[in-house]
């Protein structure tokens, strides 16, 4: 199932079987064909000085995304859906297909619906859309708040979700979601040289997002807040060489076996504001993520770290086929000590989106980056992040077809 060829074959077969939906006069929910939608993206990334997300210094095409979804209304109030997704982004994904989301949804009232299954996490304005290239101007959402390398942790949960939409007299409308469940993680994706994650578990993830949509004449103004609680437990197995090195350095006691046990409870929140009217979009979000850490044996005292993340973003559709955009994103890891380059990342991005046809787009994007927080040491010759270049640039081209 991991073969891109096999995946493409399945995609083609499914698309041939299901013609696109057309409404007919005798349509009822059950007699309609399922809604079928898909996208295919291919990108190219080139950076100066540091590798970013992939081996981008030499130029990399390891920047592929494919998604296919089916949605079917069984009755007016009951529907089911699923999306298969695969990607390749440097060391992430490797064309391994997975269920991005699947659900059954019962819509009791507009103010109360229930979803069960794997649903995207509503965190901030765009987390649940972070894979959807056709739904935005930039290639990359601001990585301070929507880090693509944390997609497995942040994108979707398996459990339940309550949601609703309620117009309020004179003061607009509320759009709210409450969810709880767990996150299934692939432990192999976290392995690093000398260490193996032998067990990983998310005993809980729970949270909410509440958005307020302003009334006329402020149509298009949205403000809101999102909260998320989760805990990640993992067992980390060290290689004999790593264990010997730690014992020699006195970091672990002489009777240390070979496994560290981590518990990482986390609390994330983000405040959001967006103005989207006619062809203009302005957005800003401010977020803080707190992780408490407990490591056994206790090689470091229990503690916590709180990162700060925010961005401002704007775009304007100049013509139906052309939308430029710009954002500035800031990320500080919150690590104690001097404000060295490995503790922050500032990202100034300029994007151009060209809608070549109604179902095909091309994007060009440039980033000027300062700071190395969030970079991968493994992608940069295992150098400490503090030794990488402070000022660097990234250029991206990406094309997406969708329907």
């Amino acid at each position: 199932m991991g073969s891109p060829v096999l995946w493409g074959t399945i995609l083609a077969a499914v698309l041939c079987v299901f013609p696109s939906r057309r409404a007919r006069a005798d349509d009822t929910p059950l007699t309609q064909l399922p809604d079928v939608h898909a996208f295919v993206s291919q990108g190219f990334m080139l950076s100066s000085k540091n590798n970013y997300l992939t081996r981008s210094r030499r130029g990399s095409f390891e920047f592929t995304e494919v998604g296919l979804n089916l949605t079917k209304a069984i009755t007016d109030d009951l529907s089911v859906g699923m999306q298969l997704f695969m990607r390749d982004l440097g060391p992430i994904g490797n064309y391994k297909p997975q269920f991005d989301w699947f659900y059954l949804d019962y819509h009791f009232r507009d103010w109360l619906g229930l979803r069960a299954g794997r649903t995207k996490l509503p965190f901030g304005l765009y987390n649940d859309q972070s894979d959807i290239d056709s739904a935005r101007v930039p290639v990359l959402l601001p990585q301070s708040v929507y880090p693509t390398t944390s997609r497995d942790f942040l994108l979707a949960q398996t459990g339940f979700e309550l949601y609703g939409y309620e117009p309020l007299p004179f003061i607009g409308a509320l759009d709210y979601r409450f969810y709880g469940g767990t996150i299934y993680l692939d432990s192999t994706s976290l392995n690093a040289p000398g260490t193996t994650v032998t067990d990983i578990d998310v005993p809980y993830v729970a949270g909410t997002r509440v958005l307020w949509h302003a009334p006329s004449p402020l149509d298009g103004l949205t403000a809101g807040a999102s909260l998320q609680l989760l805990r990640i437990d993992l067992d980390l197995l060290l290689s004999p060489d790593e264990v010997a090195g730690l014992k020699q350095a006195g970091v672990v006691p002489p009777d240390f076996g070979d496994t560290f046990k981590y518990k990482l409870p986390a609390f994330l929140w983000v405040g959001s504001v967006e103005y989207a009217a006619h062809d203009l979009l302005l957005a800003a979000e401010y977020s803080r993520w707190r992780y408490d850490y407990k490591i056994r044996p206790e090689v470091v005292p229990d503690g916590n770290i709180t990162s700060t993340r925010w961005y401002v973003m704007g775009s304007y559709r100049v013509a139906p086929w052309f939308s430029p955009g710009v954002y500035y994103a800031f990320f500080n890891t919150g690590a104690k000590g001097p404000d060295t380059r490995d503790k922050y990342q500032q990202d100034f991005a300029v994007s151009n989106r060209y809608d070549l046809t109604p179902n095909w787009l091309l994007k060009l994007e440039g980033h000027y980056m300062r700071g190395t927080a969030g970079l991968s040491s493994a992608l940069n010759s295992n150098l400490p992040l503090g030794e990488l270049a402070r000022d660097w640039t990234v250029f991206m081209v990406k094309t997406t077809a969708f329907f």
Binding site: D26, Y103, P167, D175, P320
Partner: protein, 141 residues
């Protein structure tokens, strides 16, 4: 409300009978008791934020092709977004598993036939085409 705004919102009255037709008219199934709807209700219904009429009947919204003049006028006037922005909104919904857009029909006639055939249907057509057995709804700000 100015005459131009009233026409743009589909509010028709005999006093304006000799004026040019509005850019679009909002139509619903003849069994619906409403004679008018608020603009925000109409926008929420077409964007599927609201899925039921006040008496709990399901709303069956229907849209027009992205390149139709009626859709362009409806989108700018009622949804307060360009057609492209609305398509982006539906891309977000489709690929995040939050819903699918209303059916897009090819012509005013097709919309009229759809609305006639579906109780609870809600759509819009160009201002100068026959409405068949459907019912025109006035739109209040």
């Amino acid at each position: 409300m100015s005459l131009v705004a009233a026409l743009a919102l589909g509010v028709l009255s005999p006093a304006f009978a000799s004026d040019p037709p509005p850019d679009f008219r909002v139509i619903t199934h003849p069994s619906r008791p409403e004679s008018s709807v608020k603009r925000e209700f109409l926008a929420d219904a077409l964007l599927k934020n609201i899925t039921h009429w006040p008496d709990d009947e399901s709303i069956r919204p229907v849209d027009q092709r992205a390149d139709s003049a009626a859709r362009r006028h409806f989108s700018e006037t009622i949804l307060r977004r360009s057609v492209q922005a609305v398509k982006t909104y539906w891309q977000q919904r489709i690929f995040s598993g939050r819903g699918v857009p209303p059916p897009e029909l090819d012509s005013d006639d097709a919309v009229v036939h759809y609305v006639e055939a579906h109780p609870g249907a809600l759509g819009y057509i160009s201002g100068n085409v026959p409405i068949g057995k459907t019912k025109v709804l006035a739109v209040s700000p």
